[in-house]
């Protein structure tokens, strides 16, 4: 169709629908102004929420990237490797480099040599991990501060990863980066209250060859203390360095690599390799960094091209005098990881695998003894039997036919070497079967044994923590001396041959090097890590030692050896080879090692040294767990609802005033849809302009929210780190959503009015418009009454349930009851309003001022109900949310004169693992506690846990966790007497075996804190859902959720069984997490947190002090479980507080809406109020009427909201959630004040117009 014809006279241009809408928009701009503001608020809230989400995410990302500096890749290894391993990486791009690091977790203490007094206000523990022993040293009035720290031994090139330092001190430090110096970050500086030049004490682990948990592993003198001097940090930007993703700053210290590796007897070795590029510019942004990265074209797998040698795997190969090549490990056992070298193509398949162990005693069995065969030993040869303790003791007591501390070798049969393994007549000794033993000549002579006789071997169980698979039962503890507790086992063998003493059988290369043992001059000089009775050593034994050293005195089959001595530490101690040939040429050891190194690089790098792409991990982690944008939009929902209600009310009012215009358009033949289109176009102008204003308002709102997070609500995020980030995407989404929501709301209002018959609209009789038919009214009222009864009954039903399994479930149930009461109230009020239209009005003799006020309030029931519902709902939600506030569980045992004991639970952790779980009395003695200490701790129950990984997976950590802490739960945990049957049964699934899924991935049962599962790990589907992660070697692990706990002792950890933990990470040593149940002595009177703790503290802290004193070197620190729980609960409570605050703001926004509506409505009521004035009502009386009209609505709404809230909160009061009366009271008073102000302002408008003019008003 042709477009409008343009008439030459410009004043007579044709009008279009859109032109008409624009004219209307300009005509009624005053009415539109407030709608415009309301739309701006809607858009501002949506944009603000989105920008907050962007800000948090960007801040997390920036923090993670800034902490890494230029680091791209990392390799870590439990086996120390050469620092030079990274030097040989070929063809690095310019600016790219690799540097080694020795990283460990340790404890740092201030030195009493520091002459400066600490600040006087430093009284409280500012670090949760500070030793509770904060007592003043009364001699020198100084305090000792301790902090758990991440210690980085690095070279000076490490600091090149960060923007260059500028200060002279820093440059000087860098130049002199050597010796006993330490540079600490601000966090550590504050916690220790130190300054440069001060002296600190660092606890360093002593390097142990043999795993601590092994029977031959050292369990004492594990920590040594060294003194260092504080120097300036060479690079300020490095002080936040971290490879774990957590927004909270952690204590961090740097020491020279060379120095610390010397101190730890690891000269030239490291445990971490970092690769990346230097950041030369101080102000280089993260965006620049990424552009830089692309420009350099860095190979993202730098570290995959490292060339590890045997040394880097902790292995070495040597040649014995017989020309036998011997592959051994520095850690005595060739670990499962090291054993991968045997799979290399260049490693000969033909080899002899040896597992060597120490027999405490080899004893000849008395011929007349009748050994008992354990019926459980069905898998072992019938000749092998376990003696009971008494028999073993008896056998052992026959000192004339036993020899102490002998090495025994279990090996595979290797044909090329069999020619050397001969008996007295020169016959090769065949492959040994299970239960058979070969003694060397010396041993058989000592024991007077011949083939066919039986001997017993008594030995320490290799893994002191788990039972080897050869037995069903745990071995009984056998003490070789009264103070020792390593479990031992005795196995019986039949002698099948006597091996001749020749260079093969007497070679010391059967035995791997064990410092303190294999290098001792005499047996009596052994520095044995196990219980060793030097008095048992005979001159013959010393003579053997001098001649043959550690040569095995006996040989058994590899099958028996594996069963007896195979453990998670490894199943072999050496691999013996013939000289390797290649292309017909016999290789030298060096040549073979080189070939192996090449093979390792090609085949094993990804499994032994898989590089972590930490920058990628950082970006993935920064996506975070908590959707802050959505969360804050939900918290702002009341503001949003209030703004939308304002739009509705104002639009309604505007259209009501233009009802006649609507009628005219109908009369002129306009269809309903066209009228709606016209009004939508008109309001479209408002919406778009309002939405555009919403953009800067949204940015301001986001700024306020960020400020709030930084200063008021830090409990929710742990630390102030968020900066405002303005993203166009969030703005666009907020803008378009806001426009859509506003237009939808306006559309619904216009549509409702357009449904009215044209006749009514022309009449402009608004009261008539609202009047439904009588039949409809009766039906509606009846329905509402039924609904009210149903709601009340349902609420009563909820109350009648006496117990809920879960506190949160209970809170949810009562919240629902409150909601039902609220709904019932709203329906009751509405039906009361509707009933008015069925009446003939108030009887004449009962009509009072209050009747007039009530009639006025109900004149527009829809509007009045909307306001009352808004107030009631907001009061209810703001108040009842308190039901979900969490408090730590209070002790439930009541103390009376016939007191049951109180128990209080603490949790503890150490920086270095302790070789004892401290569960038993013996453990505590072995750990170094005196008898008196043990007596003092007799009523303290301690449960030790092993752990792996470091990331806090709780809601405190905003990052998406990559390497969560995993706790190994021991079986002894099930014996924890305080637990209910329900709680105990909840842990049972943890001990189910691991299963393998169809894709080959291991599925491990796991229990996690409920909030951690839901919000941090996002296991929305609950029980049965899985969390996946990759271990250090790139293997995928799948943890299946089999249970959830509330108020967990370690809320940030995944709980699996200890057995599974050791299966997945066999290198795990010792225990480093504890749960401690402390028996609190009786006290009289009622209990509260305030009075029990002062009474208990002195005894409590005295006992815990004992633990701290003995275990302080390991970095022992304790926290009350209640404090741990409170910290977690504060997160939820903070979000609730934010919701309540924003909810209150929403309510307060709704009140200006009421004011505006009231002001506009005054125009309708001008003539009505003028009549009252003409009759004789004073201005004050009219103001009072208007004020009371507001109060009716406020009282209705607030009263209903408070009642519903009380229904929710009163039943929960006994559980610590208080009945929140202050908030609704405050809200009510605020609303009364605002309502009064609204009425006063509205009345001023009325009084401005003269009575006569007002009477003539249409």
């Amino acid at each position: 169709m042709n477009t409008d014809h343009v008439i030459k006279n410009s004043s007579q241009r044709s009008i279009t629908l859109y032109a008409l809408s624009r004219k209307s928009f300009l005509q009624y701009w005053r009415e539109h102004l407030l709608v415009f503001v309301a739309i701006a608020i809607v858009v501002a809230i949506l944009i603000g929420g989105g920008l907050l989400g962007d800000s948090v995410q960007n801040s997390l990302r920036d923090r993670a990237i800034a902490r890494l500096g230029g680091i791209e890749e990392v390799i870590t290894s439990e086996i120390p490797f050469r620092q030079a391993m990274g030097d040989a990486i070929p063809a690095l791009s310019s600016g790219t480099f690799v540097t080694p690091v020795l990283q460990l977790r340790t404890t740092i203490t201030t030195d009493t040599l520091n002459s400066r007094k600490p600040p006087e206000d430093e009284q409280k523990n500012i670090d949760d991990h500070i030793n509770i022993d904060g007592q003043k040293n009364i001699h020198d009035q100084k305090k000792t501060y301790t902090a758990s720290t991440s210690l980085m031994g690095c070279r000076k090139d490490f600091f090149q990863f960060f923007p260059a330092a500028h200060s002279q001190c820093q440059t000087k430090t860098l130049e002199n980066w050597q010796g006993a110096i330490i540079a600490v970050n601000d966090v550590l500086m504050t916690r220790l209250s130190i300054q440069q030049g001060d002296s600190l004490l660092i606890r360093l682990p002593s390097n142990s060859d043999i795993p601590t948990d092994s029977a031959l592993g050292r369990k004492t003198e594990l920590i040594r203390t060294v003194r260092v001097t504080v120097v300036p940090l060479p690079n300020d930007a490095a002080q936040d360095f971290s490879l774990t993703f957590d927004q909270r700053k952690q204590p961090l210290a740097f020491v020279p690599l060379e120095w610390i590796s010397d101190q730890m007897n690891m000269s030239g070795y490291a445990n971490m390799l970092l690769a990346g590029h230097s950041r030369t510019r101080q102000t280089e942004s993260n965006r620049d960094l990424e552009r830089n990265h692309d420009a350099i074209g860095m190979d993202k797998t730098i570290l995959s091209s490292i060339r590890p040698t045997l040394d880097d795997l902790g292995l070495s190969i040597s040649e014995s005098q017989l020309g036998v090549w011997n592959l051994t490990s520095k850690q005595m056992f060739i670990s499962p990881l090291q054993q991968k070298i045997l799979t290399l193509p260049s490693f000969p398949k033909e080899r002899q695998e040896v597992l060597l162990w120490l027999a405490n005693t080899i004893a000849a069995e008395n011929k007349d003894s009748q050994p008992r065969v354990d019926p459980n030993m069905s898998t072992v040869s019938p000749s092998v039997a376990i003696r009971n303790d008494e028999e073993s003791t008896q056998a052992a007591s026959d000192t004339t036919r036993q020899i102490p501390y002998s090495t025994v070798a279990a090996s595979t049969f290797f044909e090329p070497f069999s020619q050397h393994f001969v008996d007295s007549v020169g016959r090769s000794i065949p492959k040994l079967k299970s239960g058979e033993i070969v003694l060397n000549r010396w041993t058989s002579d000592q024991l007077n044994i011949k083939p066919g006789d039986f001997v017993t071997l008594e030995y320490f169980v290799p893994d002191t923590t788990l039972v080897p698979s050869v037995e069903a039962d745990r071995p009984k503890e056998k003490k070789s001396t009264p103070s020792e507790s390593l479990p031992t086992r005795t196995i019986r063998f039949q002698v099948v041959a006597i091996a001749e003493m020749n260079p093969y059988t007497t070679s010391s290369d059967w035995t791997p090097t064990v410092r303190g043992l294999t290098d001792a001059k005499t047996m009596k000089h052994w520095d044995a890590p196990f219980p060793f009775d030097a008095t048992r050593i005979r001159p013959e034994d010393e003579a053997y030692w001098q001649t043959y050293g550690t040569a095995p005195k006996a040989f058994i089959s590899d099958v028996d050896g594996q069963k007896m001595w195979g453990s998670r530490f490894g199943t072999m101690t050496s691999v013996r080879l013939e000289k390797v040939k290649k292309n017909g040429k016999t290789l030298t050891i060096e040549e073979f090692a080189f070939i192996l190194s090449h093979d390792i690089s090609e085949h094993l790098n990804t499994s032994i040294f898989p590089p972590r792409l930490v920058r990628k991990e950082a970006l993935a982690s920064a996506a975070g767990n908590t959707p802050f944008g959505v969360l804050f939009m939900m918290c702002s929902s009341f503001l949003l609802i209030s703004a939308m209600l304002l739009i509705i009310q104002l639009t309604q009012l505007s259209i009501e005033r233009r009802a006649k215009e609507l009628g005219v358009l109908f009369a002129l033949g306009w269809t309903r849809s066209r009228i709606i289109l016209l009004f939508l176009c008109e309001n479209g102008w408002i919406t778009i302009t309002g939405a555009l204003l919403g953009i800067p308002l949204g940015i301001i709102y986001a700024y306020i929210l960020v400020y709030g997070l930084q200063h008021w609500w830090t409990d929710a995020i742990g630390e102030s780190f968020v900066h405002l980030a303005i993203g166009s995407e969030s703005i666009l989404i907020g803008l378009s959503s806001g426009i859509f929501i506003s237009m939808s709301v306006i559309f619904l209002v216009i549509r409702r009015f357009s449904k009215q018959p044209a006749f009514y609209l022309l009449a402009g009789n608004l009261a008539t418009i609202s009047n439904p038919s009588r039949q409809h009214l009766i039906k509606s009222i009846r329905f509402k009454k039924i609904a009210v009864i149903l709601c009340i009954l349902m609420a009563i039903g909820i109350y009648s349930v006496t117990s809920y399994p879960d506190l949160m479930l209970r809170a949810g149930a009562f919240f629902t009851a409150g909601l039902l009461v609220l709904l019932a109230g709203i329906l009751w009020i509405h039906q009361k309003m509707q009933s008015k239209f069925l009446n003939n009005g108030t009887p004449a003799n009962e009509f009072q001022l209050k009747s007039l006020i009530w009639e006025n309030t109900m004149r527009n029931p829809h509007r009045s109900l909307t306001i009352a519902v808004l107030i009631a709902t907001s009061v209810f939600l703001v108040t009842a949310m308190s039901a979900f506030e969490l408090y730590p569980a209070q002790p439930t045992d009541r103390v009376t004169s016939n007191a049951k004991p109180w128990w209080e639970t603490w949790v503890a952790e150490t920086d270095r693992p302790i070789p004892y779980s401290l569960t038993t009395k013996q453990d505590r003695i072995s750990a170094g506690f005196t008898d008196e200490d043990v007596s003092q701790l007799s009523d303290v129950k301690i449960y030790g846990f092993r752990s792996h990984g470091s990331d806090d997976a709780s809601c405190k950590n905003l990052y998406h966790v990559q390497n969560p802490m995993i706790i190994g739960v021991p079986q002894t945990w099930m014996n924890r007497g305080r637990k209910t049957e329900t709680e105990l049964s909840a842990y049972q699934p943890l001990f189910r075996p691991m299963t393998q899924d169809a894709d080959g991935v291991w599925r491990i049962p796991m229990i996690v804190d409920k909030n951690t599962a839901m919000y941090a790990l996002q296991l929305w589907n609950g029980i049965g859902s899985c969390f996946e992660m990759r271990d250090e070697h790139g293997n995928l692990l799948r943890f299946e959720l089999v249970g959830m706990t509330t108020n967990s002792h370690f809320p940030g950890a995944l709980w699996i069984s200890e057995e599974h933990l050791l299966t997945l990470w066999p290198e795990t040593q010792g225990w480093n997490r504890w749960v401690i149940d402390v028996n609190i002595p009786q006290s009289i009177g009622s209990l509260s947190e305030t009075n029990i703790l002062p009474n208990a503290t002195s005894q409590d802290s005295k006992r815990l002090k004992i633990l701290g004193d003995v275990l302080g070197d390991f970095g022992w620190s304790t926290r009350r479980l209640m404090d741990v729980q409170r910290e977690q609960m504060n997160i939820q409570n903070t979000y609730l507080a934010i919701f309540q605050l924003l909810g209150i703001l929403g309510v307060l926004l709704g009140l200006p809406a009421m004011l505006v509506v009231q002001l506009r409505a005054m125009r309708e009521r001008q003539s009505e109020l003028a009549i009252l004035r003409a009759i004789g009502f004073s201005n004050r009386r009219i103001q009072w009427i208007l004020f009371m009209e507001n109060c009716v609505l406020l009282l209705m709404g607030t009263g209903l909201g408070v009642i519903a809230a009380l229904v929710t909160t009163i039943p929960l009061n006994e559980l610590g959630s208080s009945v929140p009366l202050l908030k609704p009271l405050g809200l009510f008073l605020a609303m009364i004040g605002l309502g009064g102000g609204c009425a006063w302002i509205a009345s001023r408008q009325v009084f401005r117009v003269s009575i006569v003019t007002a009477l003539r008003a249409p």
């Binding site: 014809h5 008439i7 044709s14 008409l20 033949g669 309903r672 044209a758 006749f759």
Partner: protein, 236 residues
């Protein structure tokens, strides 16, 4: 030939506890070019009758046929089409859109179902000239006098060549002199356009000028000419 036929029209409202019959059993017939005055006391249902004739409201019973088409059974959009194409409304309070000029107010009916064409623009100008407002086309209602506004309203009602013009007290808000002028104008235009004209009025001077008078009185409608009614006396 255009005509309007009303058969036994009744209108009642349900209010609160009672039923209010506005009028009952009205029948009348009008042909093209004829004029009819509807008179009666306040509350007798004159405006209601006009609303029903204008399809703004539905009767309780009875039927209306306009140009051979019955109102009963029509959908809402069909009613709107009748109002658009066959009926013109003139209200007591002119009901002009304050944001539009006189010229633009005339085009509002055109915008009801489409865009303004040259023909329609021309018609608007002609009508404004016909009502004596050729020089006031670009003035908004607030810049026009009461009489001028009503002229614009009359012109707007004629914009789409209606067969039926309905005027509800078109001079009710005007002074007597202006009222007379407007009444004359209305009649003249109606004759020129050859439309049926029904006017609700209290004014006997206007009703006298109509061809016929319909008296609404105590639910009993009496039809007759003005002269015969004059003989019988003015209806109460």
């Amino acid at each position: 030939m255009s005509y309007l036929k009303v058969n036994h029209l009744t209108k009642a409202f349900e209010f609160k506890m009672s039923r209010l019959t506005i009028f009952q059993d009205i029948s009348l017939e009008l042909h093209r070019g004829e004029t009819l005055a509807v008179v009666g006391p306040s509350g007798s249902g004159k405006s209601t009758l006009l609303s029903i004739l204008g399809t703004l409201e539905e009767p309780t019973s009875g039927d209306i046929i306009l140009d051979g088409r019955a109102y009963s059974g029509l959908t809402r959009s069909e009613r709107a089409a009748i109002r658009r194409d066959q009926i013109g409304f003139i209200f007591q309070e002119h009901c002009l859109l304050p944001q539009c000029t006189a010229y633009e107010n005339l085009l509002i009916p055109v915008l009801a179902d489409g865009k303004v064409t040259e023909t329609e623009s021309q018609r608007a100008i002609e009508l404004l000239s016909a009502v004596g407002l050729a020089s006031r086309t670009s003035h908004r209602p607030m810049e026009l006098s009461g009489g001028e506004r009503q002229r614009v309203a009359i012109a707007r009602a004629l914009m789409r060549h209606p067969t039926l013009l309905l005027a509800d007290e078109p001079t009710g808000n005007l002074d007597p002199r202006t009222a007379a002028t407007i009444a004359e104008l209305l009649l003249e235009i109606a004759r020129l356009e050859n439309t049926m004209l029904i006017v609700v009025t209290h004014s006997s001077k206007i009703s006298e000028k109509m061809d016929r008078i319909h008296v609404m009185n105590e639910y009993l409608a009496t039809d007759g000419t003005s002269q015969s009614l004059k003989k019988e006396g003015e209806p109460a």
